[in-house]
Structure formats: C-alpha cells, structure tokens
Symmetry: D3
Subunit: 298 residues, 6 copies
C-alpha cells in the first residue's frame, strides 16, 4: 500500500481511533484490511458495434454488523485504492450509528459523460452480472454515488431480479420511488447536513440566522444543504461546481440557482460575480460545506 | 499495469499470437484482461493465540471453454500480478489442448515454511471459505501448486464439502488417491515432460540415448522428468534446487538422488561434485529442463 | 384472439385508457398481452378409484409492480380466455391503488359441486404442484375466488410448505385465520363496496339513508355489502342468487337472509315475494350491486 | 380441441395404439393430454428501436421416462396446437427407443427470414429467460428445429449459463461442436433415414442399387439422406424445396446440388429440368422421402 | 417408552387435556409423538489434542403453527427422553399463547463446567453443523437453556451465517444485543414470573406486599423474579442454588445477593443463615418459585 | 447402549479389528458411534379413514468415503439399535471393497403384511418426505431390504423427484429396470454368494460338484444362490423359509421350488419331505447358506 494512498489514509485514521479506544490488537488486525475486493472486466458492445472492456470493482470492507452497503461510482479516477478507502469509511459510518450494516463501495473506471444511455445501461447490467456472486439483500446492497442515479439503481435491481426470477427491490437503495424507493431520499444527505449544522450552532450557542456559508460542489448534496440552510436563515455567499464559482456577500438566491443547475448542469450560467473555483475554500465564511469529491482539505 | 510485470508479459505474448492468427480485435479485447480477480483477507489464529491476517487471491482469467482450473500457490512472492499471469497461461494451456476448461490461479502471500501444519490447515480452510462464492465443480476447480500438496487439496475439499453438506470430490484435482484422486497424478507432469522430450528427439531425428540433460529444480516435476528420461537412456549431468547444484558428466544416479531429496529435501546432501546453482543454466547439455519457478530464462 | 372474448374486451379497455393517457406505444405493446400463461393437466384419483384428468391454468399478466396476485377459480366455464382477462384486470386494480403487486389469475375446469372434499383436496394439491415452478411469495400469490375458499388456500399453503420443508404462510392470501390469515378478510370485499357506495353518495351530495339497493349475487361479497349498507341506512329491495330473486320494496331483512343462505345456500328458501332472477337487473333502484360473475351488464 | 387439429391427430394415433396394446385406461387418460404448456410474451427491441412482442410456447408432453427433450421452431405458422402435437410425437419417439427422455417441443410465432441476426439473438435470449422456470438439464432440454440452428442453441446455452453462473453445455443438444456439440450431429437425421431405407430394402429382399428416390425438402435432412442413399447406389430422380422441384430420371448430381443449396439456399438455381413442386409427391419412384414440414401426405 | 420417563409424563398430560377438550383422536395420534428427533455424534479436538465424541440431540415436536423454537441444553443428564418432553412442552407453551411457532428442544450430553471456552466453542460449532439440515429461520430456531448463554447463541449464529454466506440474526433468539438480540431478554423470564405472580395475587384479592417467597434455583430466572417481586413489596425469605440455601425471615437483600452470585456463582458465599438446600421446598411461604431444573415437585 | 444389543455387537467387532490393525484411537472414537440417526413419526391415513402414526429411522453411520448407502427395512422388529448396527456393517462393507460410499440403514416399525398396497405407498411416500432433509444422490441413497422391493424404491424415487421438480433416478438403487434400475440386480446378491462359494471351494482345493447345501431363507437371495450353485453342480438338500423346511438328500429341484415360492410365497407348498424349520441349521451339509435375518448363528 503506497503511503499517500486513500486506503492508507483510512488505515491511519483507524489506528488513531484504535489507540484512542485501546482497541484489542487482534480486532484491529481484522479491521485494517478489507474483507474482500472483487475486480472484474466488463466487456460491452458500444453503440458503434465495437467491444470495449471496462474495469470495475466492488470492495466489501467488513460485514460483522450485517450486510454491507455502499455506493457505486462511475468516474475515470475510480481505482481499487479509492473503493477500498470509501468502503472502510462506509463501515465506520454505519457502525457509529449502530446500523445493522457493514461497509462496501464499488466503481467502474469510465467517463460516463462520454457514454450514451444505452451504453451506460449495458455497462451497469454487465457489471451487476459480474459481481452477482457477492451481491444480495443479505450480502451487499449497492446505492447511487458519483455519476450514478436512481436510474442506475433501477438497472441493477432489474438485472438482479431477472436472475432471481422475481422482483427484488431490497437489492439496492436509492432506486426510483415507483420501484419502491424511499420518499425524500434525493434530498436526504443535504437535509442531514443542514440539520447537523443547525444542531452544531445550537450546541455552540451561536446563531445560524445570518451565518455565512460557502458550498463546494453545488450538486444534489450541496444544493439541498444550501437550500435547507438558507430556509433556516443562513446566507449562502459562495457556491462552486466543476464549471466555476459564484459569490454574493448578500446571499445567493438558492432556489433560482438550483433551477439553473437543473437546466444547465453548471452554476456559472447563473448571473452574478464569479471567482476562480479554487478560491471557494478560502472565502471568509462561518461554515464551509465541502460537497464535491472526498479528500479536498489538507 | 507495469510494463515489466508478469501479467504484461502474458499480454504481450497474447498480442503476438493474435497478430499471427489475425484474431478478431473484439475477441482480443476480451482476452487481454482477466475476467475477475478476487482479493481476500484471511484472518487466522496462530498457534500462539494471536490473530494474523494474510492476503489471498483467486483470478479466473476466462471461462469460455468451461469451468476454470488452476493451482493455488503459497509463497511470500505471491502477488495479484503473478496470479493474473499464471491464470492467463492456464487459459492458453487448456485451450491449446481443447480441454473443456478455462484458466484460473490462486495464491496466498505467506511463508509456508514458517507455519505449523495446524496453521496451514486453518489458513487453507479460511481461504477456501473466503473464495467460496466463486468456487464450484462447474465454476472453478483448484489444484496443487508451489508449496501446496494433496493434503492442501484435501482441506479445500473438506471445507467445500462441509458447506454443501455432502462429500464433493470434484471440487479439486490433485487430492489424495484415498479421497478419489487420480492415480499417477504425482508423477504426471514429469512424465509428460519426458514423453514430450522423447517425441521431440524423434521429430528431430536425434538419439535420446546418451543425450545430456540438466534439471533446474529437482523437485516433484524435475525429479520425475529426470527419472523417466534416464530410464529412456538419457544422461542427467546436472541437477539443482534451492540448496545448490550437483554435477556428474557420467550421469547422476537419479533413483538415489530422489531418495536423498525425499529424506533431506535438498540435493546437496547427496555425495558428488557441487557447483554454484546459478551455473546450472550454463552447462553444456542437449536438454535443459527448467522446473523451478517461472520466468528463469531471459 | 376472438373478437368477443373476455381477453379481447380487457384489451380494448386498455387501448381506450392508453389513448386517454397517451401511453407510450412501446409500453402498450407489452401491456396488451399476458406475460405468461401456464396450462397444466391435473390427473387425480377419484373416490371410485378411477383417474380423471382436469385442465388448469395460471396466467401471470404483468409483474412490473411486484409479485403477481390473483384468485384461483373452480368452475366448468373456466377457460384460458377468462383467466387472461381476469389477470389483466387484477393488474390494473393493483396498479391503480399503487400496491406493490402485479396481476394474475388461475382456474381449473371442473364442477366443484360434483367433487367430494377429498377429491377437491387432491385436485388442489396436484394443481399446486403443477404450477409450483412459477409460484412463490416473491413470484405469484394465489387467493380464493369463485368456488374456492380459505380451506382451498390452506391446501395450497400446505402443499407449498411441504415442498419447501417449512411452513410458508405468505404463499397465499385468504387462508384461515388460524394459519395466519387476516382478520376481517371474509367480509372485506363487501365492506369495501359499502364504503365506496357511501363515499359516492357523499360526493354526489345525496343521502344514502333510504336509498334503494338491488344485489345480484347474494353470496359472500353481495351479502356483506348488503349488510353494511343496510346498517348505514340504505334499503335492500332485491337480492338474487343462482336459485332465484327475492324482492321487498320495504327492504329485506338482511341478517335473517344471510342466516338463511348460510343454512340453505340459496336465497329463495327465505320467505317473501320472488321474481325471475333475470329481472333483478331491471328493478327501479338507486344502486345496483352486481356481485355475481363478471360481464353481466351490456 | 378442434377435430382436424394436429394435436387431435396425435391423440387419435394414440387411441389406435392404445387399443392395439390394450393400454390401461387410467394410463391412457394421462397420456392423451400434455403435462404442461407454457405460453409466453417475448418483448424485444427491434433494430429500429421499437418494441415488438412475439408469442412463444413450450410444451412438455410427458416426463415419465426422464427429462423432456425436443426442438424449438421459429415459423409464422407455429401454434399451441402444433407444439402440443410435436411434443406428443417426441414422447412416443423417445419411448419407442427406450431413451431415458420424455417429449417436449417449443416455438415462437415469427418470420425468422425478416429478422436480423441481432434481433434473432435478442428473441432467443428473451424466450430462454421466459421459459427458464421449466428448463434445465434434468427438466427439459431444447434442440434445433425448423429455422433454428446450432447458433440458436449456443444463445440458449449462453443465456442459461449466465443465469446459473457457470457454463452448462447439457442444457441443449445440437450446439456447435466448439461448445461441446456432438460430432456428426448435422448429418445424423439424414444418415438415419438412409440407413433405415437400406435396412428396409434388405428386409424386403429388394435391391437398393438403382432404386429411384424423390426427396421433398432438400434441406439438411433431405439433402444428407439423398447424399448417403446415392452413395449406397440409389438414384435420386427428384428433389424439391420451397423454391421449386428439380427432376432427372438418370439421377441428380447430389454433391453438386448440395453445394448449390449451400450457396443459393434453393434447388432451382441448379441447372436441369424443373417441374411444379407439388408434383414431386406424384413421381414414379421406389422411395419417397418427405423431409419438409410434417403432415404432407393424406 | 418407559412409564416413568419425562416424555411419558408429557404424553399423559396431553391425554388428560385431550379428554378435557374432547380432542379428535386422529389429531391426538399426531400430537402424542414428536415429529422428528435427530441424534448426532459431535467429534471435537480437546485442548489436549485428543478427539472426544459427544452425543447431541435436536427434537422438533410439532411445526403446525410455524417454525419450531426451543432451547439447547448442555448437561450430563441430557437424554433423548428429556429433549422430547421439553420439546412437547415448548409446543404447548407456544400454542397456548397462539404464537406462530412450534416447539423444539436440543441438548448435548456433556459437563460444560469441565470444558474450556475454546472447547465449548468447537462443541457448539460442530453441533450446529451437524443439525444444519433441519435448522433455519423458517424451520427451527434455537435459544439458550441450561448452561448455554448468549455467547453460545452467537457461536450458533456465526456458524450458520458462515454456511449461508451472510449474517443471519434470525437463526437464534437470546443472542447478544450487539448482534441484534432483544433488549430485556436476559431478565424476561424472571420478569414474567413476577408479573404473573402479581396478577395472581390480584385475582385472588390478596396482598403481594409482605407476602413470603422462597426461590429454588437463584440463577438468571430465579434471581430476576426475586428482584422484581421484592421491588413489588414481597419478602424473599429463602433462596437456594446448587451450593446450598440461604434463609432470612425478614427478607434477603436481593440486589446484594445477585451481586454475590455474579461474583462467586453460588449463594452461600453471601453472609446469612444457611439450611440444607433440600429444605427449601418445605419452607412456610406464600409463594414457592421452582426455578431450577424441571420435575422437582411430586 | 445395552451390552447385548446389535449396535454393541457391531462396536465390539470394530474394536477387535481396530486392535488388529492398530487403528489410531482418535479415528476409532469417530468410528465407534453413528454420525447421525434421524427418528421420525409417519402419520398416514389408513384405508379405513383413520390416522395411524408409525415410527421410522434413518441412520447414516459414516460418510467419509462418499454418500451413504443402505437399505430400508419394513418389519415389526425394526429398532434404532438394529438400524445403527446394520448401518455400521454397511459402512465396513463399502469400505472393504473401496467403494466411494459410506454406510446407512433405515427402517419403519410396521407389519407390512397387514398393510394394503395403497397404505404401503402412503407410508413410503411420507417416510421419504420426513427424511428428505438428509436424503440426496450426493448425501444418502436408499435401497431395498427386508419387505421392501423395487416398487418401494419407485415410490421413494417418485416422491423425491416430485420435490425436486425433475426425475432423479440416482436417489435409489434397486429400482425397477424401466425406471433406470440395473439389469441383474434382483439376482445379484444370490449370484455373488454362489460365485464366492465356488471360489472358496477352488481355494480349498475341494470339488463343488456334488457338495451338499442347506439354504436358510429361500427368498430372493437364498433362492438365487441355490439356483446358481445347483447349476454349478452342487446339491441343495434343504431349504427353509418362515413357513417351514423342505429336505431331499438327492437334491431339491430348485427351478420348480422357485416357481412354487413365486406362486405361493412359501416353500412348504412344494411336495417333498418337511422337517421343523429350526432343524435346518443342524443338517449334515458342506455348505450352510444363512439367507434369512441377521444374527442366526451363535
């Protein structure tokens, strides 16, 4: 394991926590490595008739608490290192909340923006088939992550159900409501962020009303967090995504900005002052919400 | 993939063969990468009561011709790269002989000489359990390899059978005869080597009788090859193993040497002239038998 | 498909609804035909020792919403056409209420009034065995229908449970309460009818009290509907079954009539004025409840 | 059952045989109807992007002797009646030779000449998925029939194997040799015909040498029968297919005619005298080989 | 069946009840014998390296109400007779409360006080493996009993889960809370005893306050019953276990006594007057709680 | 275990053999007890409509060599002791011939001569269902034994096949030839006896021709042994069954006697001198064939 890898970072965090709680060395030895990682080749026929072979992963870090759970990511930067680290973090997250779940993570190395919807469907269905031996409502349950959506989950669910011979909604979370998905799932992460922020201010005996907020990654999570926080009275003064960064010291109009992003898929189509997106992390704010990719703050 | 890796070497061989036979590019794309590789953590309790976590692999390279087959290796140098390359080579081997099998390979990073028999048993049983989801007489069938024996196969077979609730001999090859193993299996690879050599001499219209032979790696394979070839009239002038190298221009006494290796597990306990073991590859012989680890000749 | 068949009728209703909601043609093409229909021979030994072979059906119309659900009918007029149409209607019913179920229907061509209870049991058990490959709590769940009762469901449940090796109550609905059946199931359809009627009157701003009602088919459904509606203040002026039709402009005594039907299995044993049963449909009433077989009104 | 249906014809043959052998009435009652017939909808996406829903069948007539076996036919005239009759005949055929198999038959109503190869593949794969619950090496084993080939069997085998998670060659017969198909399978039916004819002549104490033969349906079966019979010395004087009929009183050159059919898929591209194809049945010959569709002679 | 056996005793109770409720003879015949009893050999390696073979049982008395449920007992006196009787009583208990469960019981003939924890673990895991064919959340669900604890249940659950390939908490009750066990399970039986006693006094219109209680078997059940009853105002004047019997006419200090038992595993380490433990049954009390082994009162 | 029980006898034989071959004590400990014994209640409806509950057993003594094999016996004297002993002996028999099978035995306590064929069928089917969890071609394979025949095996095979959903001939041996039974199976045991006797005479350098033979139990085994031995030239001077004993110093006419037994099911209907059946064991003969029940010679 390379020392600056993400998985190594996750391991070091574990060691620190283990020292803190004087964790039994034998248990630590089991926790410091993933239970299993499956690497698969995913050959699909492209729309142009040629075959292209993608590489996918599914890491199940630890299942002591129950079936593993975790997202599936489609991104050119997906790597075994990344899925292992993310699966470890999913494990700690579930355990901290005492959920009856272990942690997992999957991903496919691909640029989803360059694949047609039919290609994405074939990619997803074949990936599901390949990881089938270690998938199941009692074994491992995928969820949406970067560049995968409720539609991706519907494909996974359908592929799994075809194999079983009956409809099995409990094989994924984050599926469309019509297929049994939970209401409010889309905005859940953002709402959680907003509620935690509110509670943190309460605990700090500070006022949320008027507090200044910067949001890095104004996507589904960042956007909803901004929305709920602005409804609670906070002022969102900066919002960035891959396209750039918008700032407004008096507060951005969040509902309008969300509409713009819905339509154009980038914040900078919204009128207003722009700054370099790297600058967002250095704004003078009360709260910084890092809602882009992991590992942004050093 | 690092350019001097074994898997890369296997890939380059494939490309060369593909050019030769004008293989369809789409098929080449599927063949150039392994179908799936499972990496598992294997926690076992050592005899001293402490837990140690080993890392194991099972690569199933391609199953188009039938269930995959391939050895399981216990060695400190086992790596994902190595099992992938060996699994590829198993695939080509089975396909060339038109056997209804695909290729696979597995391994555990460990020093088996430092583990007690009970530790090796626990290691093997847990490894079997961990790769169980992709194991089966119709799916993937392990075999002995470096530092694994018919006893190892008996453990795998017993673990698999326990899980199924009935005795399943067809889950491994290379098991003890008493459990349904094939007769002659132990000497099969060496005998094959001897027969091929004999046929090669015939085709070359040369005489095998009196031909000089050097054997690198006087273990199960090398020893039996030497035995059968000497019975056919050839003269084994050099034999090495990890302990060193014996030479005798008039021919070593192979049955005696085998007995010595049986007893002492090294060739140099046998009386006779010794040379540096690296020198074996440079002896003046008609046939060189490389029967140690792969990748010895450059 | 013959143009005046029931299945064709169901198809035409679908086309009409599809036009109304501008349903995607591709989806319509999938919905216009049943997913699968299994036709089975059911040989049973009669009480007289001879073998008789019955013909049974199970149509699973569509399972997009979840496992299919639907009754099993024992009647001489059962046909593939009928089960297909009824399965289609079950599909729409479940979908309209957004239940996580698809629609199915089954039936056996037989005259259940001419079979002894032991013959009915053997018939039911063998039918269950024959449709087993497409039955299951996640696949398809039978329910009582014309001439099948909670006892029939108990036989299906027991046959299925025997095959699985454990008691599986979720394979049928409408089973006896003692085996896990729902309380109030028997009167549920009739109660539903009464409640809808009450709500309809409310919506129409009419009074249910004193409204005149005719019930075609005073069986489990019609009888309970009559009972609940009379308790709500309506007046049941006519009630028919296969035996004939009773009328009373001042209202029939429903509890007494139900008792009579319980005992004699026909309405005409109850004292009161009788008319020809075909006349029931032409009575001057505020509400007509058609609770006999489908397809009565033209 | 309509009186002139194929299934009715098969039934009448059964009754006749039953009278002959004084078959137990109870057994006759079980044999006179198919065990089960599954009718499925098969929605596939056409190459033009539209969905088309085909209807398919699989009839398993009787499995008392072992797993059922029988072809899958792709033809516009496929009907439930036809598959039931053909499945019955498969049952008698297997039983007469005391093979450990029962009889089955399947089919899809379609015009395979109007479907592209990718459409045929999707059709076959979806059909296989739909009949999966009653398919298996121990349950029912498909084979090629009218307009289905070893390639079709390869698709069925691959679909089944994908679902099981391992390669299962024993799910179909008539698959390509490379996938485990039997050698000589292609010419087997024709060779059988030729051998039976030869034996028949022997039994009749007639000479096959110079005997005149007419072949209706010069396809795989008819063509090979003609080839083997001409090699045995017989003279093939007439050969027809859907395109027309060739005649030559001195004997057609069968190897050349086979080559022509291989290239042009019709006999009339071969030089020589042609007659109306209906006339073939009325030629003055010693042997008539009806190798087109069933039910040609009245 | 020997006339003074426990199973015979259970049978006689059944006959008495059957007469009382005029039970159908056919049903009685089914109820008077256990459905199935599995007797297994359990070979384990002791810590000293030798193999010892224990004998274990699992009796599933009747599963008409649902999956069977019942404890697993480790004791030198375990016998087939005992598990059959206890399984019968579990059946009546579940049925009386109309729980959807049948009754079962298991046990191993062993002296658990003479086995190390690792030996107990191996014994439990092997016993679980041996009864696996008739175990499952839908089939039979073990629970703790004499000398088995939540830890034993964790071993059973882990063994079962290993075999299934996923964590299955519903295979046992009485497991540790961390693995999904119910809160309050430990004190449940004792609390139930206390509540029933309180209700009995109410029904008898007597005062529980000041009532005198003797507890035979001051273990988990007896101790908690004593605790809750003393909190309700009763006076525990005598408490015995295998070590002896403590008495105090003014009431024992139950929390202190429980602490003592927790530490020393016997009541007599607690200061106070002791009597012979057999005397406990003859104390002058209002309530006697027999919470040791069954069959104490004659 | 009672000291004069059959199982104890089998154990003592094992101890003797173990001393002889200096068997490892750990292995002996595993071999001295049966792996598992299942005792089941078998409720069936008698022809008179009443329910009767029978008790059945299946003991699987040891499966180290492969799936267990052994007969099923219907007899009033069947007991757990007997099936355990017989299963032990089956284990040694299979092991001595190095067959890949372990040993098992089953039985039902019943008087098969007092049950109608339909009752026997129901008894067999229910017994099969009850032992299903430990039955299977890879697990345990029944065979005919005392009072069970090829028809009994057909019932077991059909019941098992119904549960699996396909015909599984490999679940029993000794089935009718029409269902896949082996040719020559019926006379196999008798033929084996005759051949061994012939070889024994050869080894003893004695003449079989004219040797005098007494057969205890002139059933399927004894009758065929007598037949083959008489064909080899021996003289059968005495033959008994449950009905009595026939003697003829010049040799009984075996084919005629077999015909008589076929027709009347007893030897004494055959003309000739009769003696008390207990006397058979004391005849002056060269060979005594004990082919009745086990444990006849003391």
């Amino acid at each position: 394991m390379i020392d600056d890898s993400l998985a190594r970072k996750a391991q070091k965090q574990l060691y620190k926590a283990a020292r803190e709680i004087k964790l039994d060395t034998n248990i630590l030895k089991i926790l410091e490595n993933p239970m299993r990682t499956l690497k698969v080749s995913i050959p699909i026929k492209l729309d142009n008739g040629k075959i292209k072979v993608f590489t996918g992963f599914r890491c199940q870090y630890n299942n002591a608490k129950g079936p593993t759970k975790g997202g599936v990511r489609y991104h050119p930067d997906v790597s075994e290192d990344e899925v292992v680290a993310l699966a470890a973090w999913m494990t700690w997250k579930c355990a901290l909340l005492d959920l009856p779940y272990g942690g997992a993570k999957g991903g496919i190395i691909c640029d989803p923006t360059k694949l047609s919807e039919t290609e994405l469907e074939r990619l997803t269905r074949r990936y599901t088939t390949e990881i089938m031996p270690i998938l199941g409502p009692h074994i491992d349950i995928p969820a949406p992550d970067v560049y995968t959506t409720s539609k991706t989950m519907a494909w996974i669910m359908d592929t799994f159900s075809m194999f079983k011979g009956y409809t099995e909604p409990s094989i994924v979370t984050g599926k469309p409501e019509i297929l049994g998905g939970s209401k409010g799932r889309k905005e859940a992460t953002g709402r959680g962020l907003a509620i935690i922020t509110r509670e943190f201010f309460k605990a700090q005996k500070k006022k949320l009303k008027g507090a200044k907020i910067a949001v890095q990654g104004f996507g589904n999570v960042g956007g909803h967090a901004a929305l709920f926080l602005s409804q609670m009275g906070a002022t969102v003064v900066a919002a960035s995504d891959v396209s750039g960064c918008l700032v407004n010291p008096d507060g951005l109009d969040i509902p309008e900005l969300m509409e713009c992003v819905e339509k154009h898929a980038c914040v900078i189509k919204h009128p207003g002052k722009q700054i370099d997106k790297e600058e967002l992390l250095f704004q003078d704010v009360d709260i910084l919400i890092p809602a882009a990719l992991e590992d942004q703050i050093h």
